[in-house]
């Protein structure tokens, strides 16, 4: 992402939220949606433009699970660890992902293709166990689905 494309985006975001009360988290959401994470130079700009100390921005980013400080892999595989999914084998599915991808939970594969993470309940308990692949929720994931999800991730990108 070049600096040139970054500046106009964030100024729009700042303009939208600057005057509204308690809008820092909303601005961070927009930034993460645009970049996939919150880059440090964008935080610096945000601090300046919104007149908020950088430390306050980092205080917020590091508190909430949703915000990332590092770019994610090209594909993000999120294994739901809600109670229903857990009871129906989410932990086993996660272990299979770890094994086949050669990463731990929260890590990205060496080639940067797949980021594996576990998430709190995505509220799709009726279809447990659930895996979210690049924003698409997939239900009733069996052991055989793990391989095909990984293959799909690698083929498409």
């Amino acid at each position: 992402m070049s600096e040139a494309t970054m500046v106009p985006d964030i100024s729009r975001t700042v303009q939208k939220w600057r005057k509204k009360r308690g809008s820092l988290i909303m601005a961070l959401h927009e930034i993460q949606n645009a970049y996939g994470y919150v880059p440090r130079n964008v935080s610096l700009q945000l601090a300046q433009l919104m007149d908020v100390p950088l430390a306050r921005i980092y205080e917020v980013i590091t508190f909430y699970n949703y915000f990332r400080l590092e770019p994610p892999g090209k594909n993000v595989v999120s294994v739901c660890m809600g109670t229903a999914c857990y009871l129906k084998g989410a932990k086993e599915r996660e272990n299979e992902f770890c094994e086949q991808l050669g990463v731990e939970e929260g890590e990205t594969t060496e080639d940067g293709q797949v980021h594996l993470q576990s998430v709190r309940c995505v509220g799709c308990c009726g279809l447990s166990p659930v895996v979210v692949v690049n924003g698409e929720t997939m239900g009733k994931i069996g052991p055989e689905d793990v391989k095909s999800i990984i293959r799909k991730c690698r083929e498409e990108h």
Binding site: I25, T83, R120, L127, E136, G139, K140
Partner: protein, 519 residues
């Protein structure tokens, strides 16, 4: 077309049906609705055409959908094999009052699975916005609070505090500006009632926000929604835009002098933000750490102004109460727990999904009759309610009626409505560790009892699970639990020991088996 339906593949089914209907120039409407409640049988297609029986089909793929079009619509007969088994017996999908045998009674879910949630006209056609109309024309703010008082509605977010009392405190509080907040930060693992209501009937929540805001004298309402629910966010934002266009949100609502705006704020993945003071800190754009009460939000809430927070399900009950009167609502359920409760029944239940039952229905009726028990060959061992703040209820206590008090007596809570069915293969020590691990990770760290106590309890549970525990560890667990309960700052820490305590209470034998010397 809710998150579960789409996850199961509803989108291509919808497209195939819509395309086929257009290509064949059939005079039928293909509509998208919200969650019907039978999540484990998605994608669901209901066919309601003249001359053929109204039928719901489950697990419908593209090919099956086209076959339904040929046979059910074309030749007017029910296609065997696809029909959702025993819908009537399950009590799923019954409209209130229609069938005395039906176990479900839909008030909160009255429109879910019936209307197209993206069309405000659909909501209005089912009596929507009549509540706010009546409030503005007839009742006035005090009259609204009075109806809610008569109804006996209690908070559905967990604690069960009478809604009218909270509203009344906020109304009486002095302030130049007041806020109404909707808690849609459903972080409780295994619960998704709020998501389904937001996705399936967003205007019901907006009307509840209007009525509550009007009653307390608020000028702004905030909808605080989990960022993990993108479809719910979309639907609620769309619904607010529609309501604003029709003059239901904004200045001089329905020609009255009531001015009230609605804004959406997103959560960012912190369970503690479901706690009201932490939630307000988060809306203010800060870390979501709770502050000690008093002062209560009614006095000093968001930005120090009088505020009131209700959760999604509570708010979805409000408009029907104002429309039909508090007395109507009070007749449903039990004396002290009136109305209905929506549960997300999941885990090992055969038919997992959303059910709405009158309060006072027994747990056994919900698990066995409405949701079909557990798969053949297995036995129900326990039901967990209330998520990380609740506890397990063993099979022999399932005849207990569901009320706020009865569940508390069993060492659990109503909570927001997650109900997880466990069978004989589920180990209770494992469940206790699962929930304690959740609380350790989600502790905001502000107060020591929760931050340190949780971690220490976790260490002991791990030690026992590894086979290195001694009877003294059980005593220590109980002492830590007591301290956390008494000394933690907010509800998260105070209730975090509940899953451990309830498994100790009912399944001590499973702990004993792991101890070095028996107790």
């Amino acid at each position: 077309m809710s998150t579960c339906g789409i996850a199961a593949g509803a989108e291509p089914v919808y497209r195939a049906l819509a395309d086929a209907v257009r290509d064949r120039e059939l005079n039928i409407e293909v509509r998208k609705t919200g969650c019907v409640g039978m999540c484990s049988m998605e994608p669901l297609v209901e066919i309601n055409v003249d001359g053929a029986p109204r039928t719901m089909y489950g697990e419908v793929g593209v090919d099956a959908a086209l076959r339904l079009l040929d046979e059910h619509v074309g030749r007017k007969h029910v296609v065997p094999g696809f029909q959702v088994p025993g819908v009537d017996q399950l009590g799923f999908y019954e409209e209130p009052g229609h069938d005395p045998k039906a176990k479900q009674h839909r008030i909160v879910l009255r429109n879910c699975g019936i209307i197209d949630p993206t069309h405000i006209e659909d909501y209005i056609a089912r009596g929507g916005y009549q509540g706010i109309k009546r409030a503005l024309a007839e009742l006035g703010p005090e009259g609204v609070i009075d109806e809610i008082k008569k109804s006996g509605l209690r908070g559905r977010g967990g604690a069960g505090y009478p809604a009218w009392m909270k509203w009344s405190f906020a109304r009486k509080a002095e302030g130049d500006e007041k806020f109404m907040i909707c808690n849609a930060d459903e972080g409780d693992p295994g619960a998704y009632m709020d998501r389904s209501v937001l996705e399936g009937d967003p205007h019901a929540v907006i009307e509840g926000m209007l009525l509550a805001g009007y009653a307390i004298g608020a000028t702004t309402g905030f909808m605080y929604v989990r960022a993990e629910y993108p479809l719910a966010i979309d639907r609620i934002e769309n619904a607010i835009r529609q309501a604003r266009r029709l003059g239901l949100v904004g200045k001089n609502i329905l020609g009255s002098d009531f001015n009230y705006d609605l804004e959406v704020r997103l959560g960012a993945g912190a369970f503690v933000c479901g706690e009201e003071t932490a939630l307000m800190a988060s809306i203010e754009g800060k870390r979501g750490t709770p502050w000690p009460r008093p002062p209560y939000p009614a006095e000093k809430g968001l930005w120090g102004k009088p505020s009131n927070i209700n959760n999604v399900e509570t708010l979805a009950n409000v408009a029907p109460i104002i429309r039909n009167g508090g007395a109507w609502f009070a007749k449903i359920g039990t004396k002290k727990s009136s109305g209905t409760k929506v549960f997300a029944v999941t885990g090992k239940a055969r038919h997992s999904g959303l059910v709405e039952i009158p309060m006072g229905t027994s747990l056994r009726e919900i698990v066995m009759d409405v949701c079909g028990g557990v798969p053949p060959g297995r036995r129900v061992k326990a039901v967990q309610t209330g998520g990380p703040s609740g506890g397990v209820i063993p099979e022999d206590k399932l005849d207990t009626p569901v009320t706020y008090e009865s569940l508390q007596e069993l060492g659990s809570i109503m909570g927001s409505g997650g109900m997880i069915v466990m069978d004989d293969t589920d180990g209770m020590l494992d469940i206790a560790r699962f929930y304690m691990g959740f609380c350790v990770e989600e502790s905001c760290g502000k107060c020591a009892p929760c931050r340190i106590g949780g971690k220490q309890m976790m260490n002991i549970l791990d030690k026992i699970a590894d086979g290195n525990g001694t009877p003294d560890d059980i005593i220590l667990l109980k002492r830590l639990a007591r301290s956390m309960r008494k000394a933690s700052l907010c509800g998260l820490g105070q209730t975090a020991p509940n899953p451990v305590l309830s498994t100790l209470r009912y399944f001590m034998n499973e702990y004993e088996e792991k101890l070095l010397q028996p107790v």
